[in-house]
């Protein structure tokens, strides 16, 4: 097989790929937002003091981390309806990827929170601060700088995992490349361009995360 790259074809499919990239970014963004919030709830829930809740949350996190994402996507999309929960591909996909990454993010938060010295908690108690204010004003701000690299890794991770959503027909970048391939029988250009687009987004994001970490540390005077 010969290597024949067609520029004309590449330019022709680029608009369609870029349009799908917007969907990919949206999927990653919404999924990440879900993961950030649910992940924090998972991390704080484990510290609530309730043994039963802690155990249940740990089981959930273990389950999510030791089964493939694609299975979780299928499960929500295909098995959900049997329990009366019918969701569109988009909603299923966002939910699956958001919950999946929430398990990983909760571990990032947990490590960050545990790295805050015990003396800080005791100082808060001695000042009679509420648990809420202790987290909000003292613990989370100190846990944040250490958590940013992990949070950044998973932002890039969630972005790279969005192609999995193509298995249930979410019209993201991978799905667009697949359709182009099956319509034109040309795979080289669409898949190469998918790679280039992913690279062009991932690399700067990783760099920005780095800058952000340095900035947050400076801002907190640490």
């Amino acid at each position: 097989m010969s290597f024949d790259w067609k520029w004309e074809f590449t330019w022709a499919i680029l608009p369609r790929l870029l349009a799908a990239t917007l969907n990919t970014l949206m999927a990653a963004g919404i999924g990440y937002a879900i993961a950030l919030v649910v992940g924090l709830a998972l991390a704080l829930g484990q510290r609530s003091g309730s043994r039963a809740l802690t155990l249940a949350l740990r089981e959930f996190i273990e389950f999510v981390r030791s089964t493939p994402l694609v299975l979780q996507i299928f499960f929500i999309f295909y098995v959900g309806p049997q329990f009366g929960i019918t969701l569109s591909p988009w909603v299923s996909g966002m939910l699956a990827i958001g919950l999946h990454y929430s398990a990983y993010l909760s571990e990032v938060y947990r490590a960050g929170i545990e790295a805050v010295p015990r003396g800080q908690w005791e100082a808060c108690r001695a000042l009679n601060m509420s648990t809420r204010d202790t987290y909000r004003r003292i613990v989370i701000p100190q846990a944040l700088p250490a958590s940013i690299p992990g949070m950044g890794n998973y932002l890039v991770g969630i972005f790279k995992d969005t192609p999995m959503l193509s298995v249930i027909g979410v019209a993201e970048l991978m799905q667009a490349a697949n359709s182009i391939g099956s319509e034109t029988y040309r795979f080289l250009e669409p898949y190469t361009m998918v790679g280039v687009i992913f690279l062009a987004i991932s690399l700067p994001v990783a760099g920005l995360v780095h800058l952000l970490e340095a900035r947050v540390r400076r801002k907190l005077g640490m």
Partner: protein, 270 residues
């Protein structure tokens, strides 16, 4: 445990600022405080001394409600701190009760525990704003006054990492005082300091003794300082008070064998 032996409230004519009543604290099979009884009068300065591991820190931590109680009751200003009344009996305090009672107690720690992401001023303002609900302006005025009192006003905009140990401890004292406690606890506040800055901190505490009507409990290894400023010395040994008394009598003629041994040992170490 049988709570009926403990009054729901101490009678008007017998209300020390703090009363430890048969207070026991154990970790598993290790008994750290053993049926401790201790009264601290309003405005009294009590120094707690004793060998390492004798339970000195634990006494302060229990009063600050950083530890739960295994047995007994602590009363603050006549009201139970570690317990609350439910249907005519004392039951272990819930968080709401603790928050109400804790308002009158402040504590300074050996390692300062300042908030590293906040300036000295913000460290002091944080409690008044978040807990007492003061406006930013009121809290700033109050905090600046206290920072001036501890000699730290010109460093108010520095973060703790830019301050020496002695400076951090002075900020920590100002931070605790900003909550207007009636009882102040000091746990070896000079032990982590370089010798040449210990005076900065002890001078602040001297000032508090002279100018405020605070009730104070201080754990210290500085015998000279304790003798100077205390109304009473309590010598702890194995979770109990082995001997106590006014400083002059305590240091010149200790009665108990263990007290004498301890005082000889610290004198030799100096």
């Amino acid at each position: 445990m049988d709570m009926s032996a403990y009054p729901l409230e101490l009678p008007e004519n017998d209300r020390p600022m703090v009363r430890f009543m048969n207070v026991t604290k154990s970790y598993g099979s290790l008994t750290v405080l053993d049926r401790l009884n201790l009264d601290v009068r309003r405005g009294e300065m009590v120094s707690v001394i004793g060998p390492s591991g004798s339970g000195k820190t634990t006494v302060l931590r229990m009063l600050m409600t950083l530890e739960t109680i295994s047995d007994g009751v602590i009363y603050v200003d006549g009201k139970p701190l570690t317990h609350m009344e439910r249907g005519g009996v004392l039951v272990p305090a819930d968080e709401r009760h603790l928050r109400r009672m804790r308002a009158s107690i402040g504590m300074c720690f050996q390692h300062f525990n300042l908030f590293p992401h906040m300036t000295a001023l913000r460290n002091c303002m944080e409690g008044p704003v978040q807990v007492l609900g003061l406006s930013e302006r009121e809290a700033r005025t109050r905090s600046e006054e206290l920072l001036a009192m501890v000699g730290m006003i010109d460093k108010k905009d520095q973060h703790p990492s830019r301050l020496s140990g002695g400076q951090q401890q002075r900020v920590a004292i100002a931070r605790a005082l900003a909550m207007r406690p009636r009882i102040m606890l000091f746990d070896e506040v000079t032990s982590a300091l370089d010798p040449e800055v210990i005076g900065e901190v002890t001078n602040v505490i001297r000032k508090l003794v002279a100018e405020h009507d605070l009730t104070m409990l201080m754990v210290t290894h500085q015998m000279g300082f304790a003798r100077d400023i205390s109304d009473r010395i309590c010598f702890f040994y194995k979770g109990q008070i082995e001997e106590q008394g006014p400083p002059e009598a305590f240091f010149t003629s200790p009665q108990r064998e263990r007290t004498q041994q301890f005082l000889r040992a610290v004198k030799d170490a100096d």
